[in-house]
């Protein structure tokens, strides 16, 4: 029995299936670029659903309220930070385009505003973010207005405690209480947000839960739930529960495995193929080769070998968790092309002694170098290939966790990488326009 290689050709191949990879696919689809996307299950399923742009500046005590102004400061203090290499107007456009796409495809988001939103975390602390899912939007509003509110948690649900949320917020939100209730028809000891969310897509389950919620709310008119309001139609589930209870309802993200991230992943995986993207999720590219005519990507899926011929490639393979970078005893390497990685001199400099050291850790700024057109660079400073671009946190000189800027780096750099790939494709199609 012979295994036949399946061959695809495309204008743009995107390697990676995190927020950066999916954002790149969205921007490419909107620009009518024929696109293939390949990547192992990214860390996208771990996201809270919040889309941060920039929530914290290095060395500053206070969180960032005005991320656009903070970007200007960043440009001055860290000119090689990936966010400093994208025009503010492009970042704004990228966020608008990304959130609009999500909204059109079934998950409504707030549009980027002038200021960050003060949002609730799974443990009842506060963080600054730029855009939130519509299912979560009432939470920050209720907090700002200090409305009487009850946080609901569930028997058997680990990783979300109403008591913890209230304990952390009670000084700033005096009318906040909590109730623990049973989720309808769940028979096992431990229950998961994913299972609850899917069960709430069944009308009968919503009706049963609504009855319990009304009792748990007491005199409060607003309730906060862990993020369980449906998986593929969350806005409908929330609206239905609000109709059935007469309450205002909002979601709070939970610890992974959390529903908002799974929602995004399943949305991307269903919508992008319908829009023409050749999506090969859950697989890793095993080889990437360039020649004068283009790039060749090799990989395997369950069924057998696949080869993709692409005119351009965007590398959005992430850092350590997603496998874009690998840590070895002798240093950090880029996995696919062995691109040079900017990194601490040796392992002893990767971390400070204390994990919570306010200076952060040098390893979290490791990554590949790019030029002004987002092409990864060789050691000698030349681009690895005119056809290769990079997006996301594989790019060096940023610590997205400390900066609360993960989605911002992903969306902004994907926006620019796709723009540069498009420019290259246009020039290749019309050589006289080549710059």
């Amino acid at each position: 029995m012979k295994e036949e290689t399946r061959n695809f050709t495309t204008q743009l191949a995107i390697i990676g299936s995190g927020i950066a990879g999916f954002a790149a696919s969205i921007f490419a689809v909107n620009r009518k670029i024929a696109t293939a996307q390949i990547g192992n299950t990214g860390a996208v399923a771990y996201t809270t659903g919040y889309l941060d742009l920039l929530g914290k500046m290095d060395g500053a005590q206070a969180a960032v309220n005005d991320p656009w102004q903070a970007l200007e400061q960043l440009r001055k203090s860290q000119s090689n930070h990936p966010l400093s290499r994208v025009a503010v107007a492009d970042i704004h456009r990228g966020f608008n385009e990304f959130t609009a796409f999500l909204g059109e495809c079934g998950i409504a988001y707030s549009q980027p505003e002038k200021r960050n939103i003060t949002a609730l975390t799974p443990v009842g602390t506060l963080k600054q973010t730029l855009c939130v899912p519509a299912t979560m939007a009432a939470g920050p509003r209720a907090f700002a207005a200090k409305k009487p509110c009850v946080i609901i948690d569930f028997i058997g649900l680990k990783g979300f405690s109403g008591r913890q949320v209230v304990a952390n917020l009670q000084d700033r939100w005096p009318n906040l209480g909590t109730q623990r209730i049973a989720f309808p028809d769940m028979v096992h000891g431990e229950i998961y947000p994913e299972v609850m969310a899917r069960a709430l897509e069944v009308p009968a389950t919503r009706e049963k839960l609504a009855y319990t919620l009304k009792n748990a709310a007491g005199q409060a008119k607003v309730i906060g739930l862990p993020a369980i309001l449906g998986m593929h139609c969350p806005d409908h589930v929330r609206a239905e529960l609000e109709r059935l209870t007469g309450l205002e309802i909002f979601e709070i993200p939970t610890m992974p495995p959390s529903v908002p991230g799974i929602r995004l992943r399943e949305l991307f995986e269903q919508v992008l193929p319908k829009k023409g993207v050749t999506l090969i999720p859950q697989q890793k590219v095993t080889a990437l080769d360039f020649d004068d005519r283009g790039a060749t990507l090799s990989l395997f899926d369950s069924y057998g070998p696949i080869r993709i011929q692409a005119q351009t490639v965007i590398l959005a393979t992430g850092r350590f968790l997603s496998g874009g970078l690998e840590a070895h005893p002798d240093g950090i390497r880029e996995h696919l092309l062995d691109l040079p990685v900017t990194q601490p001199a040796d392992r002893t400099h990767w971390y400070h002694d204390r994990y919570t050291d306010p200076r952060g850790h040098a390893i979290h700024r490791a990554g590949i170098e790019i030029d002004d057109t987002f092409r990864p660079l060789r050691l000698d400073g030349r681009p690895y290939s005119d056809r290769l671009f990079a997006a996301g946190i594989i790019i060096a000189h940023q610590d997205w966790i400390r900066g609360r800027s993960g989605a911002g780096i992903a969306i902004a750099t994907a926006f620019r990488a796709v723009a540069e790939a498009e420019r290259y494709l246009l020039a290749e199609t019309n050589p006289e326009k080549r710059v």
Partner: protein
């Protein structure tokens, strides 16, 4: 524990079957075996304990076990507990945990290993018996239907159709036809229990002019030997089937509407390095192709009442084998049959779909309560669509979804693709309507 490192354990609770002796289950060193089984670069030590696997596994919680716990216990060296947990018979090896794992960890391989380690008399007797039946005849039928009986049933049904349905007086059901293009397999349930269900398939072949044949040997689709963890028996079954196709010189082994038959054959050929002088293909792909080519001129005009349909993606041919390409074919066929506006996708779907709980031998394992607990998630998926019918090309999915529908008070039916294709074409005989509810039957009157 005895001196050989084995434990006396109680067999999983079964509602039927022969009483179990107190035989022993040897203890597996799972960590060591994982190193041997996993491809280079993969490691259970890479597990982040994030729980995406357990969150997305319908077997989580059954027997107080879940995929994450399984890995953690392996890491902690809790080999006795893992070697003896009945949960390995509740995990359908659907590989959804593998599919959603950011670290690409495949737990199903360890579950297969654990199953194979159980003594035969400890394994769920329904699965073992089905495997024994498969090995007992050249048919490789889990229901034990011998070749001569299969030949007789096919001919008997064929003669009846020719006599009672004038439009099909020349219908063919070739047997052992040398050099036919398609070698067609058949789930034993049809010839054994509901022979008229074979007829819609024959009619489809007749309409498209397919050059096909059944074989008196190796014709059966099902393979419980793989589910029983009996690798030797799995090999014997696949060898017999491969030999049967090679002997007839067919170019394509065409898997009909049965999920695991494809996977066991495809994986078996690779695993045992067998020489297969033919391609392995799925009937679903051909349905889609024949509709696109106009050979099956189906349409949805018959669906005047806007009856809603959804589709169940069998793990064995979608996530574990072809991937989303065949899932798209299934949706193309469904939309053509019922109308775009009458198709509602289950969530999640395609490669991310949940196993129904009928796979992995669960239906035959006699663990009904656990199986229905597992199936609750599938029931919720179907209920959320509001569809009146589920289409699926898999007999185990079919039976499980019918059962959980009845158990949880669902109001949906489950139909084969071949039934709906013939319904759409107006050629569904009176005896071929077993799975149609009153709403569909009404449209035929």
């Amino acid at each position: 524990m005895d001196k050989n490192g084995s434990y006396l354990v109680t067999a999983p609770k079964q509602e039927k079957g022969t009483p179990m002796a107190d035989t022993q289950i040897a203890t597996i060193n799972f960590k060591e075996e994982a190193l041997r089984l996993l491809p280079e670069g993969a490691s259970f030590e890479a597990c982040l304990t994030c729980g995406l696997c357990s969150s997305g596994c319908p077997a989580s919680g059954i027997e107080n076990m879940d995929p994450r716990k399984f890995i953690r216990m392996a890491e902690l060296g809790m080999d006795v507990e893992l070697s003896t947990t009945p949960w390995v018979w509740c995990c359908t090896q659907c590989k959804r945990c593998h599919h959603v794992c950011p670290m690409n960890i495949d737990i199903s391989q360890l579950v297969f290993l654990a199953r194979s380690n159980w003594p035969e008399d400890k394994k769920p007797s329904g699965i073992v018996r089905s495997c024994q039946m498969i090995l007992a005849t050249d048919s490789t039928s889990a229901m034990g239907l011998p070749p001569a009986d299969f030949v007789f049933v096919v001919d008997d049904v064929l003669q009846e159709v020719r006599a009672t349905q004038p439009a099909f007086q020349h219908l063919q059901a070739p047997m052992d036809k040398q050099g036919a293009h398609f070698f067609v397999n058949q789930n034993s349930r049809e010839p054994m229990s509901e022979p008229d269900e074979m007829v819609p398939l024959w009619k489809i072949f007749h309409l498209v002019g397919a050059d096909w044949t059944y074989s008196s040997k190796g014709w059966a689709a099902e393979n419980f030997c793989m589910f029983s963890g009996n690798e030797t028996a799995w090999y014997e079954v696949i060898k017999k089937r491969v030999d049967a196709v090679n002997e007839l010189g067919c170019q394509v082994w065409l898997n009909t509407e049965c999920g695991h038959s494809y996977y066991t054959m495809w994986q078996g050929v690779k695993r045992f390095n067998l020489t297969a002088n033919f391609r392995l293909e799925s009937l679903i792909t051909y349905y889609a192709r024949w509709i696109r080519e106009g050979k099956l001129p189906v349409n949805s005009k018959w669906n005047t009442k806007g009856i809603k349909f959804t589709v169940q993606d069998p793990c064995m041919i979608v996530r574990k084998a072809y991937g989303d390409a065949i899932a798209e074919d299934m949706r193309f066929v469904t939309r053509a049959l019922v109308g775009e506006e009458n198709f509602i996708d289950m969530q999640p779907n395609r490669s991310a779909n949940y196993c129904c709980g009928g796979g992995g031998g669960f239906l035959q394992a006699g663990m009904t309560e656990h199986r229905r607990t597992y199936g609750k998630r599938k029931f919720d998926q179907i209920a959320a669509t509001g569809a009146a019918y589920v289409l699926t090309p898999c007999h185990n999915c079919h039976s499980q979804m019918e059962d959980i529908g009845h158990f949880y008070g669902g109001n949906y039916g489950v139909v084969h693709f071949w039934t709906l294709i013939c319904l759409s074409l107006g050629i569904l005989g009176d005896n071929e309507r077993t799975y149609l509810g009153p709403d569909l039957l009404e449209l035929l009157d």
